[in-house]
């Protein structure tokens, strides 16, 4: 058998989901060490990383001991409990300005889903009857402004924009003036995607942040880091560096409508202390949900 056939054969098993696989383990076995090993591997396969997977298994083990659980079938419940406990260590509510417009800055690496999430968030708040304004502060990527304009059209919302190549901080400046003049409740600011190891681009983001804070005291009220749900261990690095530079206040996990589990948010919440606030479940304007720790944990653990 060739090299690749070997691998392929080994991988065939992974077609069955984490839970289906664990389900068999849970049904057929007493609570022994091998059950916990399988659980750890399932957690790793959900992108939680080795350390968090290990920590979670220890939490489940402690819960099993406390509840005198002897049967593996009772484990899924405990897994959900342990995971949702870890995920609700932080407060997932959005923060709003007490007075005047609330400014939300959307940040993240390239292609994570920032612009799309802005469109969805605009729709969410417009439906609640809020006055929403969009700021096209990604002046770098080809047709990023047109993309946000298309979203503005779709959800019926104004977009403050300059032209490609303009200073993004100047767009934010204008958006704040416009937001005040028009009595906007919420200003949603798009920014260009940037990889966290690009220091000059991170410095540009810090400048955008500074201009917002200066022109609208107390803002940005939210800095949302958008993380692609298919992201692996690099996501933790993203959270760490973006937090250092612009004091991230919440996470949006996107693309959870696929088969990725988005487990990287567990170490982000746990180690970086940043709460998840929203999850993205598709490309349509309704495909955004406020984060619910228990629902998320159940989605990861159960079929």
């Amino acid at each position: 058998m060739g090299l690749f056939d070997r691998f392929k054969k080994g991988l065939q098993k992974s077609r069955t989901s984490l839970v289906e696989r664990l389900g068999n383990v849970f049904r057929s076995r007493k609570l022994d060490e091998s059950v916990y090993e399988e659980m750890e591997e399932a957690f790793i396969a959900a992108d939680m990383g080795v350390e968090t997977a290990f920590a979670l298994v220890e939490d489940v083990r402690a819960l099993a001991r406390k509840n005198k659980v002897e049967n593996a079938e009772q484990l899924p419940e405990l897994m959900v409990e342990a995971m949702s406990k870890m995920l609700s260590e932080q407060d997932s509510e959005m923060r709003f300005a007490t007075d005047g417009p609330t400014l939300v800055l959307m940040v993240g690496v390239n292609g994570a889903g920032k612009t799309t999430t802005i469109g969805k968030l605009a729709h969410y708040y417009l439906t609640e009857g809020k006055r929403v304004l969009l700021a096209a502060a990604d002046t770098f990527r080809a047709a990023a402004i047109e993309q946000l304009l298309a979203w503005g059209d779709r959800v019926d919302c104004d977009v403050i924009r300059h032209t490609q190549g303009a200073d993004p901080a100047a767009v934010i400046f204008d958006a704040i003036q416009a937001g005040r003049a028009r009595n906007a409740d919420i200003i949603l600011c798009d920014t260009a995607g940037r990889l966290q190891n690009k220091t000059h681009l991170m410095a540009e983001l810090a400048k955008i942040h500074k201009v917002a804070a200066r022109e609208l005291p107390g803002s940005p009220h939210e800095v949302l880091l958008v993380i692609d749900g298919t992201t692996g261990q690099n996501g933790l690095n993203q959270a760490k560096v973006f937090k250092e530079v612009v004091d991230v206040s919440g996470i949006v996990v996107t693309k959870l409508d696929g088969t990725a589990k988005g487990g990287i948010v567990l170490p982000i919440v746990h180690e970086q202390g940043i709460p998840v606030k929203w999850i993205g479940l598709g490309e349509g304007m309704d495909d955004l949900q406020p984060f619910d720790a228990t629902a998320f944990a159940e989605a990861v653990c159960k079929p």
Partner: protein, 306 residues
């Protein structure tokens, strides 16, 4: 993170004493650390398991080179296996016997397809080809605008039919347009889609059978985690992927997904994307990615000198 892992790995390997031949327990201990390094680099757990088993088998009983410690010897084997696994077949674009050469780029949303199209186009143009870019993403807002902006930047014509025509018709007409213009390379930008979206995957199959491309390149984000296995498997099953483009390697992700994708599809990684600026795509170097995935630059340079 990188440094941390590398040093913990080296510490574990340092424990191995020089004994002439690698024993089972030597290798066992080293492979435990290798496993952690691979998982931290996002190589899929199953791939890791198979890989570790394979290398362990190969390593036990091997002679330790004079200039290396047993630990370094194990790393040498791991590194060689990784490099071999990701290299192998020659990573060149398959040109059609009768022009035009048609290349389709496919992948998940936001992976970097449209950017890669422009970069590929630029490379072809610089080699005296006459490419045509075909805008077959009718779903993503302003996807067509994006391709036009990029096309202007690299001075390559873009064919589009707006967003109201279905992609199969667009590519069919794109082929006719290529003939009319005398283009010898046709690069098709497709919409990002989930591998489990059956309707959209069928659409890709239909596009493929309509234009019979020489290459179907799967575009994969270097930051992808464990799920790369499902993505690669499904795209390959339905489309017969012929190669991979690994994007965003200018970041600090270790890129273990590449190993996963290579292992499941058997397809070569043909190019890597190293930035947002439109420059020609870079060729892929298996040895560089192998050392990046392992995160042990210093050990490896030592081995190379041995």
């Amino acid at each position: 993170m990188l440094e941390g892992l590398s040093s913990s790995l080296q510490k574990a390997l340092g424990k191995l004493r020089s004994k002439g031949k690698l024993t089972e327990s030597d290798v066992q201990e080293a492979m435990r650390e290798v496993r952690l390094a691979l998982l931290a680099a996002d190589v899929n757990v199953k791939v890791v398991r198979d890989f570790v088993a394979r290398v362990r088998e190969r390593a036990v009983g091997q002679d330790v080179q004079k200039s290396l410690t047993p630990g370094q010897q194990v790393i040498k084997i791991v590194y060689e296996e990784l490099t071999e696994l990701m290299g192998g077949t020659q990573a060149r674009i398959q040109m059609a016997a009768k022009p035009p050469t048609v290349i389709m780029l496919v992948g998940l949303q936001g992976a970097g397809k449209t950017t890669a199209i422009a970069k590929l186009g630029l490379a072809f143009r610089q080699h005296q080809h006459r490419p045509l870019l075909v805008a077959a993403d009718v779903y993503r807002p302003a996807a067509i605008d994006q391709l036009h902006v990029l096309g202007r930047q690299v001075d390559i014509p873009v064919f589009d039919m707006g967003t109201e025509t279905n992609p199969v018709d667009i590519v069919r007409n794109g082929m006719a347009e290529a003939e009319r213009q005398g283009a010898d390379v046709v690069l098709v930008d497709t919409a990002g889609r989930l591998h489990i979206d059956d309707a959209l995957m069928t659409e890709l199959e239909d596009m493929k059978s309509t234009i019979e491309p020489s290459e179907v390149l799967l575009v994969v984000d270097a930051m992808t985690g464990q799920d790369a296995v499902h993505v690669a498997e499904t795209f390959h099953e339905r489309l017969g992927v012929t190669g991979v483009i690994l994007t965003k390697l200018d970041g600090d992700a270790r890129g273990g997904a590449a190993l996963t994708v290579r292992a499941v599809t058997g397809c070569a990684i043909k190019y890597v994307g190293l930035g947002e600026k439109i420059e020609p795509l870079e060729p892929f170097h298996p040895d560089r990615l192998a050392s990046r995935i392992l995160g042990m630059g210093d050990v490896l340079s030592l081995i190379e000198r041995a």
